[in-house]
Amino acid sequence: MSSVEKSSVELNAQQVWDGFKQLLPISLFVVIFGVAFGLAAAQTGLDDSSTLLMSTLVFAGAAQFAVLDLWAGQVPIVPLIITVFAINARHLLMGATLYPWLRDLPRAKRYGVMLVVSDANWAMSMQAFNVGKPGLGLLLGGGIALWSAWALGSWLGLYFGSAIQDPVSLGLDMVMGCFLLAMVIGGQKNLRMLIIWSVAAGSSLLAYRYLPENSHVVVGALAGGLLGAVWMEKKVEH
């Protein structure tokens, strides 16, 4: 990604639609996660409209599940903010990694696209960008697919949540993990990257064990990033 191709930062309706379609398969699984969330929210005591409002406005599954754990007659504000921030802090890093491809967009578009950034569409668009393909359609269209799936699933969960009693025994808890792993392996692979990833994995595990909850993603990602900044690839002149 030493130079950003002009064609890779275009964004038109066709690309958004293509991105939407490309993220549809994984969105089907997001519907199932949504169902699980809708069910869990109802069991926690949220009313139906609050559950739907949360899924449409927040659109961050892991954080939403974590807030259900905090839910009681009184919800403490500071732990609420810290929990949501820590779990979603990876979005900060995702935004930073996307910046080279977003900076030429008008400000409204740039921040508009970021409204629907999530793990899956970010990973797919980064993979496209890194090989010089257009990725903004994947980001926006894919994000819309994921967001719709999450909202739809949450709504279905209010009514049909009991249909999926044990998602774990069906392996459904592994969907996102396997998807993200496939993205990692589909990306750039060389000895330098492998070492950077090992450092990221090791730091993440140490943070997971010894640092405050939910800090591991940011710690691991920053460790990998910093190593990459110190140990740079030989520059290929264009």
Binding site: S2, P25, S50, L53, M54, L57, V58, A60, Q64, G73, Q74, V75, P76, I77, L80, V84, F85, N88, H91, L92, L93, G95, A96, T97, Y99, P100, R110, L115, D119, A123, M126, N130, S169, G171, D173, M174, G177, C178, L180, L181, A182, V184, I185, G186, M193, I196, W197, A200, A201, L205, Y208, V218, V219, G220, A221, L222, G224, G225, G228, M232
Partner: protein
């Protein structure tokens, strides 16, 4: 400080969650708009983008059950062989499901 988790309070909680989440979605782009993008920054970004995923996955692989580990292993192997994400993901999930069904049965 606490918020009542009923009526209007629920709405306030959701609003706080939405604002904090949006801040994380916008914050990285916003901060980067003040950072000059030189070669070192590009290298930082590209190293970090894979590292985010690895850092997310590492505890899953280490603390997960054997079904989770086998799922990730299967996805990795199929992905390396076929270079196609969908079969790799499907195989991973299938292995997790199969393993867990079998370990219940035994």
């Amino acid at each position: 400080m606490n918020i009542e988790s009923a009526g209007f309070g629920t709405f306030v909680i959701i609003l706080i969650m939405a604002v904090v989440t949006l801040a994380t979605r916008w914050g990285g782009v916003f901060v980067m708009s003040f950072v000059p993008i030189n070669y070192r920054v590009q290298q930082f970004i590209s190293a970090m983008s894979g590292s985010v995923l690895v850092a997310l996955l590492a505890p899953l692989a280490v603390t997960g059950d054997n079904g989770a580990r086998l799922a990730l292993l299967t996805t990795a192997v199929v992905m390396l062989l076929l270079r196609k994400p969908l079969p790799a993901i499907a195989a991973g999930i299938a292995v997790a499901a199969l393993f867990r069904q079998l370990s219940v049965a035994v």
